[in-house]
């Protein structure tokens, strides 16, 4: 202790203890932060761990026996493949496939996939995650050689370009997520179409036009409350209103779309998009309001000063200046919508469809729904597919978020 600074003995007595206390808690607080970061890293590693690893394949039929004149099935033309399919499948099964979608209309890749699925029937007999594959490689090889002598053991990444471009399938080997990605994009399109104009409109009304009366205060409070309603409740709202009550519209029956295999009693892309639209509406409104509020009063007054009307002021001065903020908020809302699962399960996402959505009235499945269904299945190979799809979803969302941050940094102006 420094003699020059007189310290009250009672104070000095517990000074050391207080400092020790402070240091300990500092460490505890720092450790908590590190725990949070570890959780994030563990989550990412866990997904990568699931998406890579050894896989043991076994085909019921050796693909080499399907070659015609030495041309392997990989190189055969579409017609040859169709003929092969006709020869190998029972008549009923072949006709069923043809009525689902005529063979002439299917691209070659789809026919080829059908061959793999229905004729060669390559199956995953066992698979291991990355950690197991790295640490127990010898044991895995020995086990496979013993248990499945005919199987092909390969170290694969479940996430391949094929995986992204193939349609959905019930066989893990041939399953892809094109159907789900397109479903997500279709759904989001309608979400944006409804939520963006409505959200920005409501924000303009509340910030520029609304006077401070009880009614407008109710609207504002209501929006804040809606932002906190669980997403599943929106799903039930969508089920009751868009799927059930507005079925003639959402199923397309009103517009002359006849009930056929692709319509789904209102459980369509359109119903899903509208449901998600309502879900993100409050988020877009709140974000847009903040952006509009940040535009300084002086800009509006200058505009009024030269004789502009209220709407001219809003349209030419307030909106352009608030736009970066509005867009950033919208992108964040859209990325929330892309990741939503629960409301779409309730609205009625299809469990197994392998054709792409083609209109607002198509049945739909989306990327998160696909992940949900694959994760919920007990077999490891489907978990691996889920992990690969999660990687795709995360890349999509991260790029969206990154673009939002870039937009914010690039265009945000300080007044």
């Amino acid at each position: 202790m420094n003699k020059a600074a007189p310290i009250h003995p009672e104070f000095a007595q517990n000074l050391d203890a207080r400092h020790r206390n402070g240091t300990i808690w500092h460490l505890v607080i720092q450790a908590s932060t590190i725990v949070g970061i570890i959780a994030l890293i563990a989550m990412l590693l866990n997904i990568i761990n699931g998406a890579l690893g050894y896989v043991a394949y076994e085909g019921r039929v050796d693909p080499a026996t399907l070659s015609v004149d030495g041309v392997t099935i990989e190189q055969q033309s579409k017609d040859q493949l169709i003929a092969l399919l006709q020869g190998k499948l029972s008549k009923g099964a072949y006709n069923k496939l043809d009525t689902e979608k005529p063979f002439a209309e299917r691209p070659r890749s789809e026919i080829y996939q059908l061959i793999l699925e229905r004729v060669v029937r390559i199956e995953v007999v066992d698979n291991w995650n990355l950690w197991q594959s790295l640490t127990q490689a010898d044991q895995i090889k020995a086990n496979v050689a013993q248990d499945y002598p005919n199987a092909d053991l390969k170290f694969v990444s479940w996430l391949t370009s094929d995986f992204v471009t193939r349609p959905q399938s019930s066989e893990p080997v041939t399953a892809g997520i094109r159907t789900a990605i397109l479903g997500s994009l279709w759904t989001i399109l309608f979400t944006i179409l409804i939520a963006f104009p409505m959200g920005v409109g409501a924000a303009i009304y509340l910030e520029e036009y609304a006077t401070d009366n009880w009614f407008n205060r109710i609207i504002q409070t209501n929006i804040n409350n809606l932002a906190g309603v669980p997403s599943i409740v929106y799903g039930m709202l969508g089920l009751a209103i868009f799927v059930r009550t507005l079925e003639p519209i959402t199923s397309g029956a009103l517009f002359g779309f006849v009930e056929d295999a692709t319509t789904a009693n209102g459980r369509t892309v359109l119903a899903a998009g509208l449901t998600l639209g309502l879900l993100v509406l409050p988020i877009i409104i709140i974000n847009s309001q903040e952006a509009i509020r940040a535009v300084p009063r002086s800009l509006r007054n200058a505009s009024f000063g030269v004789g502009a009307t209220k709407w001219q002021t809003v349209w030419s001065h307030v909106l352009p200046n608030a736009m970066p903020g509005i867009l950033t908020g919208t992108i964040l809302a859209v990325s929330r919508a892309i990741g939503e699962t629960a409301p779409l399960v309730v609205v009625g996402a299809s469990t197994a469809i392998n054709f792409d959505p083609t209109s607002p009235f198509s049945k739909f499945t989306t990327l998160p729904i696909q992940i949900y269904q694959w994760t919920a299945r007990p077999q490891d190979e489907f978990r691996a597919l889920a992990a690969a799809s999660i990687l795709v979803l995360l890349v999509l969302l991260l790029s969206l978020n990154a673009s939002a941050i870039l937009l914010r940094n690039r265009f945000s102006r300080r007044f």
């Binding site: 409109g201 709407w311 991260l398």
Partner: protein
């Protein structure tokens, strides 16, 4: 003296200074008002549709309000509709989530606002934003493929079910962590510098300042953050749908499988559901209860912020 009509001398007629009715402006204002009004429609829609189906449910002779709130069995097949098993499961997952999220969330927020250098903060905040932006289904996958095996390794696989509420709750805590952290951090940062300086001036340590001065000053914001987190945990669906198990089970044991309110809605709605069946109506009754619980929590949190906020210059 009469005013020249055509304004030849530069004066305009007086009556033209009146605000002109502009049709375009009125139409646009109407449209904007309508956009704002849609949100009211949404709330009315939720209450009306959920209420309508819930009413049908309670009109059913097999159901009584008393049974709904006090019955200990939820088995639609034998017409037992007691919501308690679903509520206890929701309670278990929520408690576990809050056990993780409150201490960690507060600690991380205090670290960010009081201890971290500006550099650390600028790297950590985006990490939090990333965590907050990850879809809940991914957390569900994490719960099922990482947390559950981890719990089973630690406590033994005969004690811990494959599906259990504990694992779902713990991962839900990680999900809510960034929400509580960012709201708390905002509240802590809003406490003026002068309060901290005064505390240091009296000889307080950094930790004492953070916990005894800054935290109490921001208490309303912190409480609001916790309540919003709580409401989020109760409404969270995908994690429990994947990891907590299917089938209602009246238990508070976190190692047993049990179905929460949200988990039940998703399982029933995801299956083959025919309209006007009692199953269909029952999930709306659960949904309505869920809506009112979360709405109440959100309103309480807003009231706390409004009423107890310390306003500094």
């Amino acid at each position: 003296m009469s005013v020249p009509k055509n304004g030849a001398d530069g004066f305009r007629p007086k009556e033209n200074l009146k605000r002109k009715p502009r049709l375009g402006e009125t139409v646009i204002q109407g449209l904007l008002f309508f956009s704002g009004f849609v949100s009211i429609f949404v709330t009315i829609g939720i209450v009306y549709e959920l209420g309508k189906e819930a009413l049908l449910f309670f009109r059913n002779p097999a159901v009584t309000l008393v049974e709904f709130f006090t019955g200990t069995q939820w088995q639609p097949t034998i017409e037992e509709f007691g919501i308690l098993p679903l509520v206890t499961a929701t309670l278990t997952t929520t408690v576990f989530a809050m056990l993780i999220a409150i201490p960690l969330g507060l600690a991380v927020a205090i670290y960010l606002s009081e201890y971290a250098t500006p550099r650390t903060r600028s790297t950590l905040k985006p990490v939090l934003e990333v965590l907050a932006g990850i879809p809940t289904i991914v957390y569900g996958y994490f719960a099922l493929t990482f947390m559950t095996p981890l719990l089973r390794t630690i406590f033994g696989s005969d004690v811990v079910d494959i599906y259990n509420t504990g694992s779902a709750g713990l991962v839900m805590g990680i999900l809510i962590l960034p929400l509580i952290t960012s709201m708390t951090e905002d509240a802590l940062s809003a406490v003026p510098r002068s309060l901290r300086e005064a505390s240091y001036g009296l000889g307080a340590t950094k930790f004492e300042t953070a916990v005894q001065i800054v935290l109490p000053a921001a208490l309303s914001g912190v409480t609001a953050a916790i309540i919003v987190g709580l409401s989020r945990a109760i409404g969270e669906t995908m994690i429990v749908a994947l990891a907590a198990g299917a089938g209602p089970n009246l238990t508070l044991n976190p190692f047993k499988s049990a179905e929460t309110m949200t988990g039940h809605i998703v399982r029933i709605a995801g299956g083959d559901l025919s309209y006007d069946s009692i199953d269909y109506d029952s999930i709306f009754a659960i949904g309505l209860l869920l809506f009112f619980i979360t709405l109440t929590l959100n309103i309480i949190s807003q009231q706390i912020v409004r009423r107890f906020r310390e306003v500094y210059e």
